[in-house]
């Protein structure tokens, strides 16, 4: 039966070429996470300048963070936020960002809040 014996060698060659091509070109997809925040309206922001003492204010500067006007570094902020979250997870954390701060630092603060499972996060901009 001459038509039955298909030559396998070229097919295997092509399959290997394809395999190598895809192994080299395909890179695994990044896992993206979304961090939800609230953006208070401009009038609400004015109310907040006469800050109610209960609200937690985290300020993001270009050089670092402060929590309720006390300068802290990231590990300390993490510790404080987890302590606050153990008291009440639904309290509002007001995150204030200066114009010159990097977006990375805001995301880091939001990540620490997500780690402590704090959900009421408001982001406002300051100068």
């Amino acid at each position: 039966m001459p038509p039955a014996d298909l030559p396998m060698t070229p097919m295997i060659d092509v399959v290997f070429q394809l395999l190598i091509y895809f192994l080299v070109t395909i890179h695994p997809k990044d896992v993206v996470a979304n961090l939800d925040v609230f953006r208070p309206s401009p009038d609400a922001r004015q109310e907040q300048t006469t800050t109610p003492p209960k609200m937690i204010r985290v300020t993001v500067f270009a050089e670092g963070f402060t929590i309720n006007d006390r300068p802290v570094d990231a590990p300390e902020l993490d510790k404080l936020l987890s302590k606050l979250a153990s008291i009440d997870r639904n309290q509002t954390i007001l995150i204030m960002c200066t114009a010159s701060s990097h977006h990375e630092d805001l995301v880091r603060v939001l990540d620490l809040c997500a780690k402590s499972r704090l959900v009421n996060l408001s982001v406002v901009s300051t100068n």
Partner: protein, 136 residues
């Protein structure tokens, strides 16, 4: 007799050719939607955040580059244009429209603020920031 034997042995070569073509087509088109995003964008890391599960088809992805340039699907625009686009989108799909800000880690907050202000002007008080949970 000889003729029927020839019919029975099917020629496999064209079928294999077509199958390979199909495989190549599907592998190359499977990841098309990520092509619409700015690939040079370096998202900030957020290892503790919850990974996004289901995608809302209405979701608007706003990219902010390291130089502060705003773009949607690689189309660059000014904050004023973004505002009018968001207003139109809100008029169509309501205030629950999910907006995801994909800000580069190196972008200044000033530029992110421009996008958030445009959202606020369109009546969107809830925004999301995209971050990398894991590098693939």
């Amino acid at each position: 007799m000889r003729r029927s034997m020839e019919d029975a042995a099917m020629n496999m070569t064209p079928m294999i050719d077509v199958v390979f073509q199909l495989i190549i087509f599907f592998v190359t088109t499977a990841d098309m939607q990520s092509k619409a995003l700015d690939t040079k964008l370096k998202l900030a890391m957020a290892p503790h955040a919850v990974a996004e599960e289901k995608k809302d088809p209405r979701e608007v992805l706003v990219d902010v580059g390291p130089d502060g340039r705003i773009s949607i699907a690689r189309t660059y625009m000014s904050p004023a244009v973004l505002r009018s686009i968001l207003k139109k989108a809100v008029a169509e799909s309501g205030q629950t429209l999910p907006v995801v800000i994909r800000g580069d880690a190196r972008a200044k907050h000033e530029d992110i603020k421009g996008v958030m202000d445009a959202c606020a002007a369109a009546g969107l008080w809830k925004v999301k920031f995209a971050a990398l949970k894991e590098r693939g």
